[in-house]
Amino acid sequence: MKSKFLRIILIVVPLGCISFFLYMTFFHSAYDHPGRYVYLDHCSSCHGEKGEGIQQLVPPLADADLAREQFDSLPCWILAGTNRPMIVNGKTYDQPMYPTAMTDIEMTNLLNYLASDMVHAKRQYKSDAVIKMMQRCRP
């Protein structure tokens, strides 16, 4: 009796762990990042749901070399907008991006989401640093 109970536990617990792990890796991680929602609200209409961009009208963000190299400039680009030719992954883009207003909390979540899941830049920020970055680019 006791050994049967033990055996069931031995099967159920590892199975539960494995399925939880699979669920977290495949269904949860990317879509549950709070920055994902900021991205969907403010950026995806132009840059695409997966950051793929639109032809040569809007540059991609997914693995974008420009964004990766100048990641610390992102808050200013987002808040102030940009309007100059940009070369992203070897292609030239030149179309205005308009200013987007957001709070420091949204900005922090957005930057961390972009860094970990889209641009793939080795960076994570805390709000205090982001607040400073945002203040620096306000005219």
Partner: protein, 210 residues
């Protein structure tokens, strides 16, 4: 052997009694005009669906585009402007899917700019090139201010100048589908994948119409 024959006969019978499923159809939309005429002293009222009237615009190459350009084509219409900060880029991304799938099958796309001051034909050409469009299958149109806005009215589309709104103009996010006889056949939410999918399935049906 005998049983086989009976079975076959039964199957044939049941097949023939089976009605073919109703053909899927796309409704005709747009204004209904009422004509009245007097025949033999009696007044008669006939309702007729309006067709998109004659128009003249300029495309991104500076060429004239008119009703002749689209005659016999299924076509899609939208309203936008190149400085649009909100829904237009998404709509262009969705339209690009339609372009890729149907431009070879004779479907045309007419994107009307509602900002004739800034969207001159060279500006539209530049915009088209950024979308990698260099042919006559997707036309970016401009013209004089009043005829653009009158055209939006005829398509029952919402387009307006508005100093308050970002970019200076407001318009709806619809794609308008028009058949080979210039009847409006559908409105679709051009800012969503679902709206575009629905339109593409309707395009499929319209292409088979005479």
């Amino acid at each position: 052997m005998k049983w086989h024959l009976i079975l076959c006969a039964a199957m044939l019978l049941s097949l023939s009694s089976c009605k073919p499923p109703p053909e899927p159809k796309v409704k005709v939309l747009g204004e209904t005009l009422v004509y009245h005429q007097t025949i033999d002293g009696q007044v008669r009222y006939d309702t007729v669906t309006a067709v998109i009237p004659q128009f003249h615009f300029i495309d991104q190459y500076g060429h004239q585009v008119d009703t002749g350009t689209i005659s016999g084509h299924v076509y899609v219409v939208d309203f936008f402007f190149t400085h649009c900060p909100s829904i237009c880029p998404k709509m262009k991304a969705e339209l690009h899917k339609v372009y890729e799938k149907y431009s070879d099958k004779g479907v045309l796309i007419l994107s009307h700019s509602i900002d004739p001051e800034r969207d001159t034909f060279p500006a539209l050409r530049l915009y088209a090139e950024k979308l990698n469009i260099d042919n006559n299958k997707w036309l970016f149109l401009t013209g004089d201010h009043d005829s653009i806005y009158a055209m939006a009215d005829r398509y029952l589309a919402y387009a307006k100048e508005d100093k308050e709104s970002p970019g200076g103009f407001v318009h709806d996010g619809n794609f308008i589908l028009v058949d080979k006889k210039r009847h409006i056949r559908g409105y679709y939410d051009g800012t969503t994948d679902e709206g575009t999918e629905k339109m593409m399935s309707d395009i499929e049906l319209l292409l088979h119409e005479k």
